[in-house]
């Protein structure tokens, strides 16, 4: 059975296909459920585009879950944080880092 992960975006439309940097939560049942990984990963909306991928559920900033899962293949595990100042917008920081 495919492993399941979850990530959050401000709005569903913010989620883009391709290679991305994400914080994901492990949904494997047990005492370590919801452990977080910070990863560089390939994501796709359709399973056919990432047949070897795990399931990725997407939630908006209100916690609403997108009706259909996406798919994810982890390429690299990163430290569990990004450089930034407290209270900075994490998504803006990650976007800025990507542009640089």
């Amino acid at each position: 059975m495919a492993k399941e992960w979850q990530t959050f975006v401000r709005k569903f439309e913010d989620m883009k296909e391709g290679e991305v940097e994400l914080f994901i939560k492990d949904l494997t049942p047990g005492p370590r459920k919801y452990d977080t990984k910070h990863v560089r990963a390939k994501v796709a909306r359709r399973k056919e585009d990432l047949p070897e991928g795990d399931i990725l559920w997407i939630r908006s900033e209100s916690g609403l879950r997108f009706s259909e899962p996406w798919y994810i293949k982890i390429l690299e595990e990163l430290p569990p944080w990004v450089p930034g100042r407290p209270w900075e917008d994490l998504f803006e920081v990650m976007e800025k880092t990507k542009r640089e």
Partner: protein, 478 residues
């Protein structure tokens, strides 16, 4: 006599019929949150979940320590049926006293019965609950006390802020940017790019948690006020890895450092206004250095949401009394202030000896001067019982002039971003607006034109009132 710890208070709650032990196994993943939420919505008892799925026997979760006025009354040593007015009065008397904490040895501190340090740290050893479906993660810190210190003045700040398990050794949290914790961090640590020592205390005595919700002034140490309200010093013990003192009888203490240069995913979370409204990924990251905990630890939870719950009840008391004192300092002729739990600190009722536009404007100025946690304020005359929302609503409906009686003010950089009706842009900029509904008679009206309230106590002469009361049962009435 004050309660020494969470367990001693739970024993009293059990004796008073205010505690239910849930012995059936429950899942930390949503089930405990759902049970807790439903119990709040029925104004039910405090819960102690004794068997948690995936966790060893003895690791427990409690919910709703001070989730009703009865339990707040018991925490203050009052009768459980004490009125809200009595509870306010007792708290108001005691909050003026300060009692310094007492430092105890490590051997006397139950919170040191078990210690994880450095590589041993594993937050997943504790049954942190996934409280609501769709939350950003497992919140270990909901009914907590978060401790930090101003290294220059020695001010020790206690606050109550949410903290989520990020990984086995990292927490992320969301103290508001307008909080005292943020003030200390931004003034003392961030300019030097230094991490700030922090301790997150879970399961201390009930009044210490209550005081952690109190909006005290900067440089005022909550622990001394907790001692005052308790009537006894809080016993503190030094942390293992950071220069902070924590309640010695706490269930769990997480020691760590809040990072000046690292951030991570945090939230969203179903918060105290009763909504999960998009406060996410604008928080802080804490590297955990040690966790100390009692044998058979109890993780204190509040399944936050629509009122009443511990948050709305505690804030009703601590915020209202602080507001009353603040308004009096500003020269507002206040009689009483009530923060109805149903209004989740967004709505405040202010009773005044003399009302009118000038007083209403002073009230608005007070509530918008610095960090703004409230937004709707109803000012009523002293003949209205501020604790009686039926009387308040009647005064609002009949005395607030829609043209002259509504005063409001916009501001930016200090609004409460948890306010559900603010747009995402307003939340981001902390832009907000506050309003005062002046529900008092204009002081310039002469007495002969002020409408007379048609209530038993106000529209009948004393001799008729006396006669009616005397003969009440003779009329066949009870």
């Amino acid at each position: 006599m004050a309660f020494r710890d969470h367990r001693e208070f739970l024993e009293v709650l059990e004796r008073e019929g205010e505690l239910v032990r849930v012995t059936q196994e429950v899942d930390w993943d949503l089930e405990v949150g759902a049970i807790g939420r439903r119990v709040y919505e029925r104004e039910g008892p405090c819960l102690l979940f004794e068997k948690i799925k995936d966790y060893p026997e003895g690791f427990r979760i409690s919910n709703g320590t001070l989730g009703t006025w009865s339990r707040v009354a018991l925490a203050l040593g009052l009768r459980k049926d004490a009125s809200v007015r009595e509870i306010y009065q007792v708290y108001e008397e005691r909050i003026d006293r300060r009692i310094a904490p007492r430092i105890v040895k490590k051997e006397e501190a139950p919170c040191k019965e078990n210690i994880m340090i450095g590589d041993e740290v594993d937050l997943f050893k504790f049954p942190s609950p996934m409280i609501h479906e769709g939350d950003g993660g497992r919140y270990i810190g909901t009914w907590d006390i978060v401790i930090c210190k101003d290294p220059e003045t020695g001010w020790i700040n206690w606050g109550m802020y949410r903290f989520m398990v990020h990984t086995k050794e990292w927490l992320t949290g969301w103290p508001q940017t307008t909080s005292h914790l943020a003030m200390i961090f931004n003034e003392r640590y961030l300019p030097k790019n230094q991490p700030m020592p922090i301790a997150i205390v879970i399961g201390s005595d009930p009044l210490s948690h209550l005081i952690a919700t109190a909006p005290l002034k900067p440089q005022e140490s909550e622990v001394e006020y907790a001692g005052g309200v308790r009537g006894e010093p809080v016993e503190l013990v030094p942390c293992e890895t950071v220069d902070l003192l924590v309640p010695a009888h706490a269930e769990i203490v997480i020691e760590g450092e809040m990072m000046p240069d690292k951030i991570a995913m945090e939230g969203p979370f179903g918060e105290y206004p009763g909504y999960r409204s998009g406060t996410m990924c604008r928080g802080v990251a804490v590297k955990v250095k040690a966790i100390t905990y009692r044998n058979n630890p109890i993780l204190t939870m509040i399944s936050l949401g629509i009122p009443p719950d511990d948050s709305s009840i505690a804030a009703s008391l601590t915020a209202a009394v602080a507001m009353k004192k603040g308004l009096l300092r500003r020269g507002v002729p206040v009689t009483d202030v009530y923060v109805p739990p149903e209004g989740v600190t967004h709505l405040v009722i202010v009773g005044v000896k003399k009302g009118g536009t000038e007083v209403a404007r002073k009230v608005l100025e007070y509530f918008t001067a610095r960090r703004v946690m409230t937004n709707k304020h109803i000012v009523v005359d002293e003949d209205v019982d501020v604790f009686n929302m039926a009387e308040v609503l009647h005064a609002f409906a009949t005395k607030c002039h829609p043209g002259r009686g509504i005063l409001y003010e916009w501001y930016e950089g200090r609004a409460n971003s948890l306010t559900p009706f603010y747009s995402p842009e307003e939340r981001k900029r902390l832009k907000g607006v506050s309003v005062v509904f002046d529900s008092t008679w204009p002081p310039e009206w002469s007495q002969d034109i002020v409408p007379i309230k048609a209530s038993f106590k106000t529209i009948y002469p004393p001799e008729i009132q006396e006669k009616v009361l005397k003969n009440w049962e003779k009329y066949g009435l009870k």
